[in-house]
Symmetry: C2
Subunit: 208 residues, 2 copies
DNA sequence: TGAGTGACAGAAATCGAAAATCGTCATATC
DNA sequence: GATATGACGATTTTCGATTTCTGTCACTCA
């Protein structure tokens, strides 16, 4: 049972076509929204038939997933760079909250169609969301463990605490909640106050 | 400019009719949902014309608001009774989180139509929601101040902290979020862990 | 043989007309 | 005068017909 041998030039042609599909989809999703963009629209822009798109993606849902993955990847990279960046763990945690809150509200205000798609992804449990939650909690856990290593955070279970911390900031990062509070001018300040509060919980205590 | 003199018997007849409208609306909302229940449906059950309903409520939205107020009043009374009840402030806060989480998920599983209405009320900023948020934060603040008075909670700003604590539990009490996580068996445990975490933040610290 | 497509069935979305709903007001009744 | 309603216009929702979309497959072509 040998695997089929893919010609290198063909593979790179297929990759280019796949990338073109993703790029086109992303552009159309930004303007029309993912629901209003048909696979035929994507194909038309690329001067190919819709059936050809299905040679690269098993379904339209897979295209949606790919675009949503792109959006969230930006956020995950930002979170990870903050988590591993300079500064004390305390400062990093605060910066992380601020960045997550800011990116979420910015997506809502500046890319409503993408914001709506991420919201739907969460609501409908698209696979990319579970990965996203993992990535954010990994970033939080990394900061927690750094804080524990340097003695500024209590030595409590880092896995569970990352999950709790993530849960505590749902109000600032969950698309539908953020949309509902979008008119409040003080969300950024509240996120910062939440960071201070969480840092109170994290610091070592004589009774620990 | 004398105020109109309302006959006592007439006032009590009007109150009874108003109450009958509310009771009927509540019953129909539970089975049909608030959107599918027409004012004419309510009137028909009471053998009156729809125009008569408008003598008691200025709009259908006002009826929706009245029913939503009833639901949330139950939750607010529960919160308040826990806040003022027996037990240490620490135990009370934990009991409050548990009760709020449990009531929210129960409403979803057992009264889906009512749950949906509360969710819409939050999303659309019905006036009753602001009052509800105030009531919950008042209950939290009461516990915080009791804890501060007895020395088990740090002396930090009780108003702001009540708001932060409330925000930290949005994941357990916000209808749309709760609905999205309804399949997770460990939400109750996570709410309890959140209580422990919040209590860590609240306890006095030598550096305070 | 790999790349690409036209044709197609079943499902979902859209459309425009009809029906229902909301809220108001003139009127009726006790 | 207080209580109640029929009639009505504007708006919203529903419904069945039509169109569009998703995904598949047999087929073509270089």
């Amino acid at each position: 049972m040998s695997q089929s041998v893919v010609h290198p030039a063909a593979a790179s042609k297929a990759e280019a076509t796949r990338a073109a599909i993703v790029d086109t989809a992303e552009r159309l999703f930004r303007t029309l929204g993912y629901q209003k963009t048909a696979v035929a629209d994507i194909a038309r822009e690329l001067r190919m038939s819709p059936a050809n798109v299905y040679r690269f993606f098993p379904s339209k849902a897979a295209i949606n997933e790919a675009i949503c993955t792109r959006i969230l990847a930006g956020l995950e990279h930002l979170a990870w760079s903050i988590a591993r960046g300079p500064g004390t763990p305390r400062d990093r945690l605060r910066a992380l909250f601020r960045a997550l809150q800011e990116q979420t509200i910015t997506l809502f205000f500046q890319e409503k169609k993408m914001h709506d798609m991420v919201g739907a992804a969460m609501q409908e449990h698209w696979p990319v969301i579970e990965a996203h939650v993992d990535a954010i909690e990994t970033a939080i856990r990394h900061i927690l463990m750094d804080g524990q290593a340097e003695g500024s955070f209590a030595r409590i279970d880092a896995n569970q605490t990352a999950k709790i911390v993530h849960t505590a900031i749902v109000a600032f990062i969950h698309p539908q909640v953020v949309e509902q509070c979008a008119d409040d001018d003080d969300q950024a300040a509240l996120a910062d106050a939440m960071a201070s509060f969480v840092l109170r919980a994290l610091r070592p205590h004589p009774d620990d």
